[in-house]
Symmetry: C2
DNA sequence: AAAATAAGTGAGTAATGACTCACTCACCGT
DNA sequence: ACGGTGAGTGAGTCATTACTCACTTATTTT
């Protein structure tokens, strides 16, 4: 039984998790090819040989990271509620604020881009699980609202992508290209949501959203 | 004087250009770290040693590519004309169609992303010359139209980025992540422009754009 | 306490990376 | 014809890389 009064030797699980964390951060920073197994070992505080005890190849380690990082967003559930109430403003504000907020972690975005650019096979899976789902959900919601007569009849998938595009592009600029923030996170989100919904909502229809204009 | 009846030996200039072209294509495909100098030499049809006769280091070759690829877009001039006429629909359609069209070359986008992700020093320059200019121009136009009373008073830079975001995101999905086209290029552009301008144009103001709704 | 097993490592190895060098070849003006 | 010059290369060098192995150290089981 384990009672390591001093954390003398981490369990196998912990080691594995530690390696994955260390590697994820390095891969995100410098890409797969730009990261050496020696660096990973050093970052995790173990010998290089041990890395290969846990993961047969560097590739396998990479795969483990991508597999681990795939979490179907808690965001979706949260949005679901607002979606059921047909609270458009809230739905889109939630989505945008989830990605555009102070202290957001850019690791995942960088990993995603690196894996796509470097042409990793797992990239598809990563994208499929992590984002595809999302577009489809959002497109489904937009379609519903079009059927409600609340939104103009534009192509739902393209429309969903247009919105996500604003958000992702914002993240690209700030997290990848290092462009400084130009407005507060809140104001940025508010502007994007305003612009988008104004373009989408049918003028004739009564506005469904409660006045949630912050500040 | 040179009159090589058969192109027996390319001039220094041509060699250099050939090397840059070969390297650009490889770097775009596999990144800086993922490309070897041997591959570049092979792609250009010369020995590896010659690569280093033309460029002292691999880095220098990379820098030469980025420097060469920086072209202040011919797009800007073309747009200028439409901008002077205050033809909003045409302005934004031109911008979007320039990037979203059949057979567009993804090399530059990939190079840009790779250089930013890999943290190249030249990345900033690349981005600054190639895109910053563009955002600023577009933002200036939007500001003008706001002052004209034609557009709603949103933050011009954020608004410009929102539009570019739709376009860039579209390119990301198709050129980097390999998502198949969902609508024709034309229809995609039309949807984005429609959505964006509807969100931006002041309802009270008379529409400035001539009826250029294709299809 | 001894045996069994798991966790961990130092010191490799073979392959490959960027880069160098002594040299050859093609073409030129004289 | 000839020597000079720049284009071009084959065969390296040396560092680094992913990965292995014989071995030690810690923990658990009996």
């Amino acid at each position: 039984m384990r009672q390591p009064s001093r954390a003398i030797r981490p369990s196998s699980r912990e080691r594995q998790a530690g390696l994955i964390a260390a590697a994820a951060s390095l891969f995100a920073a410098k890409g797969f090819n730009g990261t050496t197994t020696k660096e990973i070992a050093k970052a995790a505080g173990v010998s290089e040989a041990l890395v290969f005890k846990y993961f047969p190849t560097k590739q396998a380690l990479y795969a483990a990271i991508l597999a681990e990082k795939i979490t179907v967003n808690e965001l979706l559930e949260a949005v679901e509620e607002a979606a059921n109430k047909r609270d458009d403003h809230r739905v889109f504000t939630m989505i945008a604020s989830f990605r555009i907020r102070p202290g957001v972690d850019s690791t995942l975005l960088r990993l995603l881009l690196f894996s796509a650019l470097e042409g990793h096979e797992l990239s598809d899976m990563f994208f499929g699980k992590h984002h595809k789902v999302f577009y489809d959900h959002l497109a489904a919601y937009i379609r519903t609202r079009i059927d409600d007569g609340a939104f103009r009849p534009l192509d739902p998938l393209l429309t969903a992508r247009a919105f996500i595009g604003m958000v992702v592009h914002h993240r690209l600029l700030h997290e990848i290209f290092g462009v400084p923030m130009h407005q507060s996170h809140e104001d940025t989100v508010a502007t994007y949501v305003d612009l988008f919904l104004t373009g989408l909502i049918k003028k004739s229809a009564g506005r469904t959203m409660p006045g949630k204009r912050s500040r």
